[in-house]
C-alpha cells in the first residue's frame, strides 16, 4: 500500500476542477454547435445535446442547459426573427458560460442564442438545396410537365383543420359556373421538421394511385409563419420537383419563397389564389368550347345563307333570262302578226278601191258627168244675171226718188233763209255808229273810254268829244246830276 501517496476525496477533486474551470473560463464564449436535441422539460428548463460532426462523424458532444427564464426569452426572440422555432438539428451560435458541477459534471450554461446566425444557416441550407437540385438537373422537372387540360382530380396534401384549406374549398365549391372538381385529402403536418417526412410520405402514397389524379396541391395557411424552413429541405424539395404530376403549392406566407415552392409546377401566394388558378384553368377550357359553339353556329348559318343566296341568285338569273327570251319571242310574234294584218288590210283596201272605181267608171259614163256640169254652170250664170238686174233697178228707183225730193224741198228753204238774212242786214245798218253820228249824236271819251257810270268825270278833267266829222277837246267846268232836274 503506498503510504506516501496523497489521497483526495472525490468532492475535493470535483471542487478543484470546478475552481480551476471557473478560473480558467472566467468569461462568456460564443460557441457554434449543432443542437442535436433540445430536451425540453416540463418545468421549462432545457438540456440540449450539442454536437460537432466532421464528415458525418461525431467528434464532440457536450451537454448544455437553458434555464426556464433564459429559454422563454431566447425562444421568443428567436422565433420572431428567424420565423422558426428552436428545433433539433439546427446549427446555432450559443452564448455560453462553461461550468462544472460536482454532481452534474461539465455543462454549457446557455445564456443566449444568436438568431442572425441561425438565419444565415437557414439561408445556407436553402442555397445548398437549390444548388444541389440544379446540379442534378431536376430543379425545373415539375414545371416541365404537361399541365392537364382540365385539372379536375386533385390530391390535396393538407390538414383538415387548416384555415387555408377551408378557404380553398370555399372558393372552388362556390364557383358560379358549375365547375366540378374531385378532391381527396392526404393529411400531413405542414410546419416544422415533421412536415418534411409527412409530406414526402403522402407524395409517395399519391404516386401509387397517380392515374386517379391530375394534380397535387399542398395547402397550408392560417397557422402563422413559423416553421416554414422545412420547405427548403433538400429531400422534400426533390420529392416535389421529381413528382410525376404537377404539384401546386399554396402555403400562404409572406416571407421568402421556399425551395419547395420554387420547384413546384406553380406556386400561389395563398390557398385562395390557388383555387382561382384552378378555376381559371377550367375557364381556359370552357371559353374556347363556348366560343366554338358560337362560331360553329354563326359560320354554319353563314355558309347556309351564302348557299341560299347563291341559289336564289341563280334562280333570279334563270328567271330573268327566260322571261326576257319569252318577251322577245312574244314581241316578234306580235310584230309579225301585226304586219301581216296591216299588209293584208292595205292590200284588201286597195283592191276594193280599185274594183269600186272600175265599177263606178263603168256605171256613169263621162258624158253624163259633162252634162251635169254644163247645166250647173248655165244655171249659175242665169241666176247671177237675174240678181244683177234686180239690184240695178232698185238702186235706180231710189236715186230718182231722192232727186224728186230734193227738187221739191230745196228752193223753198233757200227763199226763207234769204229773207232772214235781209232782215238781219237791215238791223245791222240801223245800229252802225256812223249812222248814229249822222243823226247828230256824239261820243264823249275820258281817258280814252266812254264817259259812263263806270268812268265818271270830275271838274277840270280833259274830255274828247267825237262827232261825225270832227274830234273836239273839252274841259269839264261844271257838273250837274240829271236825275235832280
Amino acid at each position: 500500500m503506498p503510504e506516501e501517496h496523497e489521497i483526495y476525496t472525490l468532492k475535493q477533486v470535483a471542487n478543484s476542477i470546478q475552481k480551476a474551470i471557473s478560473e480558467r473560463y472566467n468569461r462568456l464564449y460564443w460557441v457554434k454547435a449543432e443542437m442535436h436535441k433540445l430536451n425540453y422539460t416540463i418545468k421549462g428548463h432545457c438540456y440540449p445535446e450539442l454536437v460537432h460532426k466532421e464528415d458525418g462523424k461525431l467528434v464532440a458532444d457536450m451537454r448544455g442547459q437553458i434555464w426556464k427564464t433564459n429559454y422563454d426569452r431566447i425562444s421568443k426572440n428567436f422565433s420572431e426573427i428567424v420565423k422558426e422555432p428552436l428545433r433539433d438539428g439546427m446549427t446555432l451560435l450559443f452564448q455560453v458560460k462553461i461550468s462544472f458541477h460536482p454532481l452534474y459534471g461539465m455543462s454549457l450554461d446557455i445564456l443566449d442564442i444568436d438568431p442572425t446566425f441561425a438565419l444565415g444557416e437557414l439561408h445556407k441550407e436553402r442555397e445548398e438545396t437549390l444548388k444541389q437540385l440544379s446540379k442534378e438537373g431536376i430543379i425545373n422537372a415539375n414545371k416541365a410537365l404537361a399541365f392537364p387540360l382540365l385539372p379536375k382530380r386533385i390530391a390535396v396534401i393538407s390538414v383538415e383543420s387548416s384555415k387555408g384549406l377551408s378557404d380553398f374549398y370555399s372558393v372552388i365549391k362556390n364557383n358560379t359556373w358549375g365547375y366540378n372538381y374531385f378532391f381527396m385529402l392526404f393529411t400531413a403536418q405542414l410546419n416544422g421538421d415533421p412536415a418534411i417526412e409527412a409530406i414526402q410520405t403522402q407524395l409517395k402514397k399519391i404516386e401509387k394511385v397517380k392515374q386517379h389524379f391530375d394534380v397535387v396541391t399542398i395547402i397550408r395557411g392560417g397557422g402563422g409563419e413559423i416553421g416554414l424552413s422545412c420547405y427548403n429541405n433538400y429531400a422534400l424539395a426533390k420529392a416535389i420537383a421529381t413528382f410525376p404530376l404537377p404539384v401546386l403549392t399554396g402555403i400562404g406566407h409572406s416571407t421568402n419563397t421556399t425551395v419547395s415552392e420554387m420547384v413546384a409546377y406553380r406556386n400561389a401566394i395563398t390557398p385562395t389564389e390557388l383555387a382561382d388558378f384552378l378555376l381559371q384553368a377550367f375557364h381556359n377550357f370552357s371559353v374556347p368550347v363556348k366560343d366554338a359553339q358560337r362560331i360553329l353556329l354563326q359560320e354554319s348559318k353563314q355558309i347556309i345563307k351564302t348557299g341560299q343566296e347563291g341559289l336564289a341568285q341563280e334562280i333570279r338569273v334563270f328567271k330573268g333570262e327566260t322571261s326576257n327570251l319569252l318577251v322577245a319571242f312574244n314581241h316578234q310574234l306580235k310584230d309579225t302578226s301585226r304586219s301581216l294584218q296591216l299588209n293584208s288590210n292595205i292590200r284588201f283596201h286597195e283592191e276594193k278601191k280599185y274594183l269600186f272605181s272600175k265599177q263606178e267608171k263603168l256605171k256613169h259614163g263621162s258624158n253624163k258627168l259633162h252634162h251635169e256640169k254644163k247645166y250647173l254652170l248655165n244655171h249659175s250664170i242665169l241666176t247671177l244675171k237675174k240678181n244683177h238686174a234686180n239690184f240695178q233697178f232698185s238702186q235706180q228707183s231710189r236715186l230718182e226718188d231722192l232727186s224728186i225730193f230734193l227738187k221739191q224741198t230745196f228752193p223753198k228753204r233757200l227763199d226763207k233763209e234769204l229773207d232772214q238774212l235781209k232782215a238781219i242786214e237791215r238791223n245791222i245798218h240801223l245800229i252802225d255808229p256812223v249812222q248814229v253820228l249822222k243823226r247828230g249824236y256824239s261820243i264823249t271819251l275820258f281817258a280814252g273810254k266812254v264817259v259812263s257810270e263806270s268812268n265818271p268825270v270830275s271838274v277840270g278833267d280833259k274830255l274828247k268829244i267825237i262827232t261825225l266829222n270832227t274830234s273836239i277837246e273839252a274841259e269839264v267846268t261844271h257838273l250837274k246830276n240829271n236825275e235832280n232836274e
Partner: protein
C-alpha cells in the same frame, strides 16, 4: 379506364378546335357542313360534361392504396 376518358376529352377539345378552325377558314362546303356540325355538337357535349361531372371514387382509390 380513366386515362382513356381523359384522352377522349383532350382529343375532343383538340378536334373541336380543328373543326372551328376549318370552318373559320371557310374550308367547309355546305355538303360537309351537316356532318361537321353534328360531330362538333358531340364534342361540345363531351367537353361541357367534363367541366361539371365527377367520376372518381374515393373508395376505389383507398382500395388500391391498401392493396399495395
Amino acid at each position: 379506364m380513366k386515362m382513356s376518358e381523359e384522352i377522349t376529352y383532350t382529343a375532343a377539345f383538340e378536334e373541336l378546335q380543328l373543326i372551328v378552325q376549318e370552318i373559320e377558314e371557310g374550308g367547309i362546303s355546305v355538303d360537309e357542313l351537316s356532318i361537321k356540325v353534328k360531330r362538333a355538337a358531340q364534342l361540345i357535349k363531351i367537353c361541357k360534361s367534363k367541366l361539371t361531372s365527377t367520376e372518381e371514387d374515393v373508395n376505389q382509390i383507398l382500395k388500391e392504396l391498401e392493396g399495395e
